[in-house]
Symmetry: C2
């Protein structure tokens, strides 16, 4: 089926800064009916540090198994990243392992580097067998085309599946008079739920970070961003966030220390920007919804309640129809089974107070409430009145488009 | 909006046996635009025993609060049941309590019986304030019309909301030469998820059961039926199952002992029949889906995995489109985070083996798999290969109809 660009998409792909120490090539394996690219190869010719966060799914893909093994064995070192779309290599067992081994054999021959410094990613349909040579057969040719003169849009487009727009985000930050670049690309629009945010996201920087830095930054910023978005509550078998730091810009230890917080902030902004773009491309999404739960007993409880609202099909269909049916928010709070004080709860939609003290607000006005859910951006704040903790999650509405796309994904 | 009868509905409302010891009247409070009934009053002139199972939601309705209190205070005795549709009396706080108090005051005056033997039920929109006299004002008139000469179809129709067909089930069983009747009615089609099965269901029998019998039977059969169905994973604020035993048929203690298992089996069948009818009326449902998970570590784990599959929007939209996208079943198993052996899992759809040993079955044939998901009744069996426990849940698919109905519920 033809997917039309999400109404919540940014106007255009952003300008992303050049990250020193990266070479890139893309290719069409022919996984799709068109001649679109579906393979990306990234090489770090002088090496890189990296961190990773991966799906907790117990039916995770062969590529996830490999990345975890590689990250541990290499102690966070990276020389390459190879990602394909069109087949997620999940539930493919020996055939999936054989494909990865063939890819890594080819990689070792071409690079002369140890296989454990090459990371693999895959996204697409689950359970369709792969041939061993899927990537290995073309890797030598692609390797020849690796170039530091690349454009991010091509790269971001090469691993889209049901995405309706390519996702990129970038920041620069001055440290010790030098410009540090951070650029990230991501794909994902369905099977999006914590933990984790069920997509592939790769963030690159030329800051000279250690593997420990990278892992800490990955955990920190994933928790704040990708782990707080949800489209449908479904968790993919392939979720990946990886941060690569090439060290293409040299900094003294003092400079890095002094600039670390700024670099971290820039990286965090890129994580968050990409996470929001994934929600904005939620399958069939017509509204971007921010849900804040406050007054909760602890952070975990706040997040559980927020996700219960965000994943409720009844809440999401009401919002799709611009129906201020906030009783369904009450329902979703209650079904979370987290501690709440029903009779002191308050609910705001936008700046409209719809409920307080366990009932409809005295000032409630249906027209005002309807206006608050009629825009493309909706903010819901629920105070559950039992404590001081809060959490914010982002989601989208549930529309005919979701049903349409997901009934037709393989056709 | 006009709802069309579910394609999965039974051909007609069944013939239900007469239960001795019940008087019934229905009425239109005017909660709907039509003159349909939206209030039912049931009286047990000689009293009844009862049991109840109620939503665990922490934002439960005032009626649920009352039923729990009444069941405890009366020690499982009942003289009446009053249920309205059109307003669930949830998140109405003092106004909801005032309505219930007025109803119960009126009930006490009319019956001369203690208020704690009168149970209240309500279903409909959440958070809309009620007037105190909503039911109290009309109760004297309705009370005059109470009659043991009633028809079940009228009763079952009086508390429907988005239901597209009234739901009833009945059985009779011979005990000591006498005929014991069991008849049940239910409503519910959205906000259906364990625990519990998020609807109102009232089951009546003229067997002379004790309150203890009734509570035990309610728990037992609710767990096997209503707690194993799900439509959308949303749990209502009003879920109720109540079993009333009038003792209208007299049995000696020996006769009851000898017949108890048969009576229990008949009651269990009525619970299960009603539970399945609720799924068959799932909002927008076009397919009835049975999901069995076996080979699990324990019963709880089996049920968690089965519900993870049953509630996955991606699985449900694929089935709606008759797309044998069983990779999404793999995804849903994995996201449950329950123990599974990915590389030894097998999946059947109908009698078609689609996956085994952690990958697509060698015998896999897309046309056969597609045929297996093309009917109105689909059975999925997943063996997760780690233990000996199993669970079965029932659900329906996710269609445009669901989005349509739930975007338009209040309009």
């Amino acid at each position: 089926m033809k997917l039309t660009r999400s109404p919540l998409a940014p106007e255009s792909f952003p300008e992303l800064p050049h990250v020193k120490g990266m070479q890139v090539a893309t290719h069409s394996l022919g996984m799709y009916k068109t001649s679109r690219d579906d393979l990306m190869v990234v090489r770090f010719p002088h090496g890189a540090s990296c961190g990773g966060a991966f799906t907790r799914s117990l039916t995770r893909s062969c590529d996830i198994d490999w990345c975890r093994e590689a990250l541990e064995a290499s102690e966070g070192k990276a020389q390459a990243l190879i990602v394909n779309a069109g087949n997620s290599n999940a539930f493919t067992f020996e055939k999936g392992i054989a494909k990865n081994n063939a890819t890594l054999d080819s990689y070792e021959q071409l690079s002369g580097a140890p296989r454990h410094e090459c990371y693999l990613g895959a996204t697409g349909v689950v359970g369709v067998p792969v041939t061993p040579g899927l990537i290995a057969d073309v890797l030598p040719d692609v390797w020849e085309r690796l170039s530091s003169d690349f454009d991010w849009l091509t790269l971001a487009s090469s691993f889209m599946t049901t995405d309706t727009f390519p996702k990129g985000a970038g920041r620069t930050v001055k440290v010790g008079g030098k410009t540090i670049s951070v650029a990230g690309i991501a794909k994902g629009s369905g099977m999006i739920a914590p933990n984790m945010a069920t997509m592939l996201a790769y963030i690159f920087t030329d800051a000279p970070l250690t593997p420990q830095n990278c892992q800490w930054l990955t955990n920190q910023h994933t928790n704040a961003s990708f782990n707080n978005i949800t489209v449908d509550g479904d968790t993919s078998t392939s979720d990946t966030v990886q941060l690569f730091a090439t060290g293409g810009v040299e900094l003294t230890e003092d400079e890095l220390d002094a600039g670390f917080d700024d670099i971290s902030a820039a990286i965090g902004e890129v994580f968050m920007d990409l996470a929001h773009q994934i929600v904005r491309d939620g399958e069939g999404a017509s509204k971007f919804i921010e849900i804040e739960v406050k007054g909760a007993l602890n952070d975990g409880s706040a997040k559980t309640i927020a996700c219960s609202i965000a994943n409720s099909p009844l809440v999401k269909t009401a919002l799709a129809a611009s129906d201020a049916n906030w009783g369904r928010i009450v329902m979703a709070v209650g079904k979370s089974l987290e501690p709440v004080n029903r009779d002191h709860m308050t609910i705001h939609i936008g700046d409209v107070l719809v409920a307080e003290s366990g009932q409809r607000a005295a000032s409630y006005d249906e027209a005002e409430a309807t206006r608050a859910v009629s825009g493309q951006e909706i903010r819901i704040v629920v105070d559950v009145a039992v404590g001081g903790s809060s959490a914010t999650v982002w989601t989208c509405d549930l529309t005919h488009g979701y049903v349409e796309i997901n009934g037709a994904y393989r056709t």
